[in-house]
Amino acid sequence: MTYAAQHFDPAPETNLVVPSWISNARAQTSEDVVFLSGAMLGELDRVAGYPGLPRPLWRDRLALWATEEAMQIAGRPERMADLRDEVHLARPGDTLGPGGVVFADWRRAVRTRLKPTRGQMPMIAASETLEAALDADMQDDAAALRAADTALARAMGWPHMVPLLALGLAQRDLRKRGAALRHACGQAVIAAGPRAVHLAQDLTRRAARLQAVAPKLRAKGAGAAVTLFLSEDALSPAVALSPIIRGSANRMTGRSARRLCDRLVDLGVVRELTGRDTFRLYGL
């Protein structure tokens, strides 16, 4: 898309763009919505299977976005930075606040392995699941959206849920039922799709850069840390990397974890996300 980006790494991104005939089209009638949401799902299916995409990280970041939307719908003041602090800095056994609980639920949901359903139209499955969940519990919109996105992913045959409806549906949409809700779900996919694809493109490029510098890292356990960076929205060196790198048997001291993160920032492959001097969080 941009010249500078192409110059940096031409191969992996050229295909991760929503075709303009989808992204520029304006859906007016309900047929348009059905058609475009189908086209968008086709694109997302291709993107979700894209070879260089760090899928767990992509889903984790989308889960963060979905949580922020859910917070706005619920009228809670927590925003992305607060949610990240709560969840990524929590040590095992810590209690989370109300926003952190929702983010943790989303993260668990996108990590759950799904079985595909057969013979269901994805958008219908999603909107019917959403309607049933909203009727069952008017209070827990986030849970209803998770159920809907899960139904969508299963009907698409994806092995994991990808938060999409949760990104595109507004509070007023959740009061709709039947055909109106189906229409809103279609529009939600059309609206959320390009955001998800753009994120996929960005993360694919960043992941490629991280993997390119990985062999140069000399810290012990750097490989395990890189793997973790490719699967989690953000990492706290003190919580996720030391004394043991999460999900591995590698030990790392707090000091070497901080040094590794600083080195990755210097190399321009990882960003510090909080802007603070202490309690820092790093991520792609």
Partner: protein, 200 residues
Amino acid sequence: MAKDQAETVFDRDLDDLPQALRWREWMARIEAVLFASATPVPREDLARVIGQGVSVDLLIDDVQASLVDRPYEVVAVGEGYALRTRPRHAAAIRAAAAVADQTVDLTEREGAVLAAIAYHQPLTRDGLKEIFGKEINRDLIGRLHAQGLIATGPRSPRRGAPYTYVTTNKFLTVFDLRSLRDLPDVEALEDAGLAGQGLA
């Protein structure tokens, strides 16, 4: 508790009963569990005493309907349900029984601090100081804690990593809220002149 033992012989599905009787038995079980519990019972726990895949909500609706002429009712609290006397009998209960330890006794200041925590949680004492413009003493926080209305939440990412405060399920029960979404809308309060800009 000999929970595991009991579960091996406990018949959830009641396959030997006709449909109508089975439903009545499930309703009775739910009511019994709610009656026996002093705290709200989570929906998952209720699902464990009835048939696999049977809707807890439908059963709750029927239990509720069967209690219309009784002095108590089923209410949804947080993620679960509780059996509770109807509010109009409050005076009678208060006159007859010592329920002082169940009621929550808050001063105006404590109420204000609790409201601030509810809206802005997770919130530290520093955060409270910013809202109220002065230090909130530990005793006040301690009293809210002792009444079970607040609990410590995650640590705040600043110097000294102070603990934050969050509201508890008991807070929801006491103020008759199903979730934090039931808190009065801040914008509506502002419009009504009940809240200042600082609280938003």
